[in-house]
């Protein structure tokens, strides 16, 4: 997790400095306040960051746990304790369970997304003409505003829109669908839009990992008669393992926290309601803060569990934070 920078150096520097200052006869301003203030300094610098962290991350999480066992509506002065009722309702009400099912579409789609990203990252890390152009085109959608993406695809998928026109021109009339209107298909369409949007980020991350491999390793492998597939299997794959692990976590938490694309494109209608759409609707339109909090707590626990399991299964030497 950490590299241990020598604690001595900073310690001695801090201890010496006032002495040095005094020796050179500077004003006592730096020394009069002495070691006491010096020890306080890091805390003063951390005051605001930690306060914000507590108020905007930890306090909401703690409150959420508390709300989730009450029947609070978000306005009432009193919050009645109802125990596990909300949790029971999350798991027994079919409409609530549906949102978990909907996130599976996005979850499966994220593997398609990673496979595509890996394929393109691999071919673009070898010699290709116009490399930067391809790289830019594949990555750019990730930078576009989510609302804009939703509208771009509403336009593209609407009856008689771009996709239908392409299919008709290709003589594939039978394939034309109500892409976002048919509950059987809508989730596939939305998940595909999600792939279009996020593939570029995965791609750039993989590309960065592959390019950090020393070129000489490939040369050595070529001399040993390794073909492209061998190189991928034995050189590229192991080196991007940490990034793959991270992408996997992002895939899970991402597929559970999908909001913009379905909200913009279908408003959560036609069976496309996601976890976040439902939670927002519960908490802010129906005043069921208790129930919405229970949903959010479950989501948070899933994400933390997955992360924990992933860290245990793929020990990650890459993350090094101090």
């Amino acid at each position: 997790m950490t590299t241990a920078p020598s604690p001595l150096r900073s310690g001695t520097a801090a201890r010496q400095a006032p002495g040095a200052g005094a020796a050179r006869g500077t004003t006592p301003g730096g020394t009069g306040r002495g070691p006491w203030l010096r020890r306080l300094t890091p805390y003063l610098f951390l005051l605001v960051p930690v306060a914000l962290l507590l108020v905007l991350t930890y306090l909401p999480v703690a409150n959420m746990f508390w709300y989730s066992v009450t029947d609070w509506d978000g306005l009432d002065k009193v919050k009645n304790f109802v125990g596990p009722d909300n949790y029971v309702e999350v798991f027994t009400e079919p409409d609530n369970l549906r949102v978990f099912y909907v996130s599976l579409y996005y979850f499966v789609a994220s593997f398609v997304q990673m496979a595509l990203a890996l394929y393109f990252a691999t071919i673009l890390s070898f010699k290709v003409r116009l490399k930067n152009l391809w790289k830019g085109i594949l990555f750019f959608p990730y930078l576009i505003n989510g609302v804009a993406i939703g509208l771009i695809f509403l336009n593209f998928l609407k009856p008689g829109g771009g996709l239908d026109t392409v299919l008709l021109a290709a003589g594939l009339d039978a394939l034309v669908q109500q892409w976002t209107g048919d509950p059987e298909i809508a989730n596939y369409s939305l998940a595909a839009v999600s792939v279009w949007r996020y593939m570029g980020l995965n791609f750039v991350m993989f590309l960065g990992a592959i390019q950090s491999i020393d070129g000489q390793i490939y040369e050595a492998a070529e001399l040993d008669g390794a073909n492209r597939w061998h190189q991928f299997r034995h050189i590229i794959a192991p080196s991007i393992k940490p990034i793959l692990g991270l992408s996997f976590i992002l895939a899970i938490s991402g597929s559970l926290s999908v909001f913009e694309i379905p909200y913009v494109m279908t408003g959560g209608g036609n069976g496309t309601e996601t976890f976040v759409i439902r939670t927002v609707w519960m908490a802010f339109n129906r005043g069921m803060v208790g129930l919405a909090s229970a949903m959010a707590v479950i989501l948070l626990i899933i994400v933390l569990l997955v992360t924990w399991v992933q860290r245990r299964v793929v020990p990650d030497e890459e993350v090094d934070l101090t």
Binding site: A13, V55, I123, Y142, V280
Partner: protein, 274 residues
């Protein structure tokens, strides 16, 4: 022979992917130059009759409030980015240059916070923002963008290590206090990290929809993304106007991307892997 086949396959796949990426955007661009009749009568692949028909753009900019949206976005971005830089750099300075009780604990607190997806906690965060009296003010967004940005702290922390401590020590011998060291040595030397944070954060704020959607219902305070979303209502059937609004939204990001490609890639690879 096989080499030629794989090479062909490689380029065919790249071209197909590029078409898939660009076609939906291209059709929106075509549509944005069409008149209402034209949009309804022609097929999406038909080029607009006139590439100089900017009427949809004018309508979107003024009546749709896109112009105002840019102003609002910029105000929030400017305030939040200054805050993020100061907060992130201060935290990184304290954690990298000092050894103190609770340092591990603070680090772990920041680490754990990265695992909490922001969307999950909004149900409860909303109550806090409301209690602070920030609901429906720009401050709600500014405070949230500033206070929940752990990634920036990590980027600064990573970079802080590469700033030689001898610089701090030399300044101390000169009699500089910690505040002066922070402002005159640390911040100027953090420039590359600051650039990365400005880019990632800037794109993030520009594209953020969920927070303004929740906290800023007031149409005069709307940033670009919720202003764009509002087109779904009154202009719901006027796709040529919506198309123009979408293109207006994309242009600044495209320009930025063309100019800062390298930094953007680096920013996202370093930001994502921390």
């Amino acid at each position: 022979m096989t080499r030629a086949v794989t090479s062909t396959f490689k380029y065919v796949s790249l071209v197909l992917a590029s078409v898939a990426m660009l076609l939906p955007i291209g059709l929106i661009v075509f549509g944005s130059f069409k008149t209402n009749q034209e949009f309804l009568a022609t097929n999406p692949f038909t080029l607009p009759a006139s590439w100089t028909n900017l009427e949809n753009y004018a309508t979107a900019w003024t009546r749709g409030g896109m112009g105002l949206g840019f102003v609002n976005t910029f105000i929030v971005f400017a305030a939040a980015i200054v805050g993020t830089i100061l907060i992130g750099a201060a935290a990184a300075y304290a954690l990298d240059r000092f050894r103190f009780h609770g340092r591990r604990g603070v680090l772990n607190m920041f680490l754990l916070a990265t695992l909490v997806p922001g969307v999950t906690t909004q149900v409860a965060t909303f109550q806090i923002i409301n209690a602070l009296g920030l609901y429906n003010t720009r401050w709600a967004l500014i405070v949230l963008f500033m206070g929940t940005d752990i990634i920036s702290i990590y980027i600064f922390l990573q970079f802080m290590r590469s700033i030689p401590r001898s610089l701090d020590e030399a300044a101390m011998i000169e009699g500089a206090g910690h505040l002066r060291i922070f402002f005159q040595i640390i911040l100027p030397n953090l420039k590359p990290a600051i650039a990365t944070v400005v880019i990632i954060k800037g794109i993030g704020i520009y594209n953020e929809f969920y927070l303004p959607f929740l906290y800023l219902p007031d149409s005069d305070l709307r940033p670009v993304s919720t202003a764009l979303f509002a087109f779904k209502g009154p202009y719901g059937s006027e796709w040529e106007i919506i198309s123009a609004a979408v293109v207006i939204t994309i242009i600044p990001i495209l320009v930025l991307f063309l100019f800062l490609q390298r930094y953007i890639y680096n920013g996202f690879t370093s930001g994502a892997t921390k």
